[in-house]
Symmetry: C2
Subunit: 671 residues, 2 copies
Amino acid sequence: MRDQTRLRQPLSLVIGLLAIGVVAWLAACRTGSEAPTPSRVAPGDTDGVIAARGLTPDDVYAAVKTYMPTGRKDDYVMFASGGHSGQVFVIGVPSMRLLKEIGVFTPEPWQGWGYSNETRAVLDGGKVRGKSINWGDTHHPALSETAGDYDGRFLFINDKAQSRVAVIDLRDFETKQILNNPLATSDHGGTMVTPDTEWVIEGGQYAAPLGTAYASIEDYDAEYRGLVTFWKFDRGAGRIDPARSFAIELPPYWQDLCDAGKLVSDGWVFCNSFNTERATGGIEDDNPPFEAGASQRDMDYMHVIDLKKAAQLVTDGKAESIEGFQVLSLEVLNENGVLYFLPEPKSPHGVDMTPDGRYMVVSGKLDPHVTVYDFEKVKTAIAAKTFTGKDDYGVPIIDFDAVLEAQVEVGLGPLHTQFDNQGYAYTSLFLDSAVARWSLGGASGELNPEPDWTLVQKTPVHYNVGHLVAAEGDTVSPDGEYLVALNKWSIDRFLTVGPLHPQNFQLLDIGGSGETMKLLYDMPIGNGEPHYVQMIKADKLNVWEVYPEVGWDPIHQKKSENAVALGEEKIVRDGNNVEIFMTAIRSHFNPERVKIKKGDHVVWHITNVENAKDATHGFALPAYDINLSLEPGEATTLEFDADTDGVFTYYCSEFCSALHLEMAGYFLVQP
Amino acid sequence: MRDQTRLRQPLSLVIGLLAIGVVAWLAACRTGSEAPTPSRVAPGDTDGVIAARGLTPDDVYAAVKTYMPTGRKDDYVMFASGGHSGQVFVIGVPSMRLLKEIGVFTPEPWQGWGYSNETRAVLDGGKVRGKSINWGDTHHPALSETAGDYDGRFLFINDKAQSRVAVIDLRDFETKQILNNPLATSDHGGTMVTPDTEWVIEGGQYAAPLGTAYASIEDYDAEYRGLVTFWKFDRGAGRIDPARSFAIELPPYWQDLCDAGKLVSDGWVFCNSFNTERATGGIEDDNPPFEAGASQRDMDYMHVIDLKKAAQLVTDGKAESIEGFQVLSLEVLNENGVLYFLPEPKSPHGVDMTPDGRYMVVSGKLDPHVTVYDFEKVKTAIAAKTFTGKDDYGVPIIDFDAVLEAQVEVGLGPLHTQFDNQGYAYTSLFLDSAVARWSLGGASGELNPEPDWTLVQKTPVHYNVGHLVAAEGDTVSPDGEYLVALNKWSIDRFLTVGPLHPQNFQLLDIGGSGETMKLLYDMPIGNGEPHYVQMIKADKLNVWEVYPEVGWDPIHQKKSENAVALGEEKIVRDGNNVEIFMTAIRSHFNPERVKIKKGDHVVWHITNVENAKDATHGFALPAYDINLSLEPGEATTLEFDADTDGVFTYYCSEFCSALHLEMAGYFLVQP
């Protein structure tokens, strides 16, 4: 069907780069050889265990640095996207323990996520072209910020596969809202927030006609478009307001990650793009495959966006409506000086603002440098129109040399950059399987008093690192201390668990001087493929241990209209409609018998009337595909048609008491 | 609706017992107070970290005992049911790291579980009364055994909510078969296996009419029945054979956990039951709630089943067919001496055979003792008909005193028992929140030379322990070394992650003498509520790192008929039927454009033609609710009606290479 030789060039390129990476690992990393078999060591004999297990002094250091005695709480919390699991993972640092998986785009029965009316409504807020979608590809979690610092109140996350965004309330770690972007069918570089969380930024990915219209791929240049969307967040309501949100039309490049300006660059947004070649694939027709076609040019375009001006244009009525969503056209952007392009090295995969908001750091993944731009120079260049021309869509191109601050050679396959409190930056190197630590010219810290734009150190990681995260690393005041490398491949690091290997989160100690960056811990991730993570100081979170009131509706965070109090249990029949008002308490449901007829429409309200911490009850209804999780105080409703007759037993599915197995009732559906 | 005072007795009973438990924790457990804030310690300064973090010598011992340097492999693997998550969790010991979540009863997009034709067919093997069910309540994993020892080949797991069983192949850690028990709507005490895995045992739970027939709850005694099912496992096929499986009809008690006899008791099976009171609930009608009604009698009945004789009766054609499933009626059981009842203390929740197959250990959860029966005496009693009478369904009741070996007072709320290689048994105490270590009379070990039936020690755990597991603790030759307490509540052990708290798996060091049983590690479980676990020595597993051949069908473990080789990619149209033959390789799909018309029926074959370890590709198809995971070599097929027109981009959803983002193609659906 195709000419095999066509592919040799791009394939061999990648394989060659990978081979270099493998050699680098073998040279640099510790061997993962098996430990000596431990002989019996008396309990409590620490030195005996160290000897028997063959632990090195570095191992013992790492062990005591990361071990959490019972009841001791972690210092930091990571919120990791779960990748195509569709969920968010909550991980404690430094112990690297998975504290929770939050159901977001994928129904999850342990949490009852997607089984009640309330949670199903949240999921169906993200219907795509009228259809329920039951998975997502979560990519970039963003913690809400106040004045550029994480405030611990909300978490935002996107679904790359369907161009959706979700809002999670960090009082109860549950998803409250899912929205589908009606203009797009994929995103990648989302979500990011502006320093006061006024806007949640959703970057783009694969160009397509805006909205639901069909257009032939032959009309790519004319009909396909890129997109960046700015969702307006209403902090008081805890919801995104689609009516006040807008998108900007972009050329059909593949927009990727964005970062919001802060401090001196507040009000601006910077987004990567790749495939400015506008390759449309077609390997089956002897066209270059995307991997080659999208890698031809030495430079792609960073999109420099004046968000404040864009928002004002929307307020001024300059947006048009597509699928009911406000869009600023390229024409309006160009007329009003909202959008500028800045050349950036080959197929970039990260743009990260330094904590002071002064510099944009870009990693062209097919270029061994990080490239640093000075935002002050960018402002000057825009004011002076220091442009080298316009692209095919009329967007001014800023002169690269006029705004470049530095280029630092860090290694092969640089992807993303994070920052600490010592004037260091950390860049992940996918092909080198390493983390590069380099210093920011002009920045400084106690341990880094006279920094220049210089590579300081590289530490191998295992293997194929994508993103990385430092403690509070996206804020105006990073903490340093810890850095986690999100390695995509684990290969030989863990016991084999089948051909689908876990990912490997590796914790690095960056609390010390520039000479050391010790590997502390390998955490397998075997329930998803996290893409990005943010790490917040644990004491910034203010989480509810139980709901504030019995009868609580967690979606709307208030007392539910359908709450059932003790003594108010009842079953009400109105023709074929049966409404059940039930309570749950250790260790029984009331009522314990529900008798209906096949064909009845059932509305079932259940309230967990307890307020003791951890006294959760489950509600499993066999044959009806229903399981709920009722946290203490929670009130919920489910609704279904009784289409299957028989004798079924609903029961508490969360082990609640010594008499938990007795917490059950009969659901009797007469034929 | 009901008289509140009716409930005071059972509720106050439970609350009182819980209060005792709380006092026991406060007295016995270490405080979970916060650590001193660490000052900056130079990297590598181990003593400095110990001092700054305030670690005790016990903490340091636990840290070096459990820490895994990079690349070091765990010694044991635990397979944990994921409770109402519907999945199985794979956990390394002693590091307590989650290595994988295996998709079983719940669709899981990261693994592509439930999205391809092949995996959807496995899930739909478990349809309930004709309906797809997309969750399960996994309870008791059972590793396959050879001569009573784990052989590392298969794992079985049940779904309590829908009375289903699943088979997982441990070569690739994927689910291969799900079956619905057509006779029942719930089970609990499943799965367990016989010593050579000829039978997979599924215990019962809530009594109901056998099969799909409806019967009024007023006819409970006459029409409702209990059940234990014996699924025939075909090791060569790697499948359960429903046609050769059978169930035994039982009185309408609530059957629970079973354990298979071994060595001297080989061929027999022992199952708990509770609610021999035949309470039918009805708190709403002023009946006693189940928690009280099912707790009236001092004794329930262990079911002693002659499995060999039962199987022979089935072979001899004595079974009747209900819903196409073979059932031995109570009449046949009684006529042929297959079933005996043995009184067991109040509402038992565990029967566990000692490793030598000689003793059955039962914990009545409302009785502070473990009760030990001698199987030799049981055999003698049956032969001599040392019965005290029959129950209402004609089953002979063995004289309790004639077969009792010992009763050991262990504490409040005893549930389950495990064994080590030193002649010790370990019983979980739900209400005490503790693990009791006691010695088995007659058994012995290096560290336990003269055992009697005696309580040795109790260690507090945090909190409300359900099951517990020791290394190879269900086999004829347990290992000792490690024990894990599966605590249902964590309360204050971890950072708060909302009103739904994680569970807490606590690792205990049982490798030493009877005087110590040190707490080593707290592992939060925040993605399900595991019910039971088995722990196998890691070197017994023989897992594939990649599939044996490119073009592999993992469900049938052979080369797929639909495998697509490089160069054989094509798109075939036949009227409205479109068949796509696609390959995936770093870093492109072929074809990269798929053009169809709305209304077409699409059959899409994809093969990952790589054989490099960890080179997995994903396949995301926006708007069509599809995500696949294609492990190296894997071939799969998906099928759907193209009901949504537009321009969509399929892409690789598993980060595979530096050009992963370019691994995409356009799916063009013309209106």
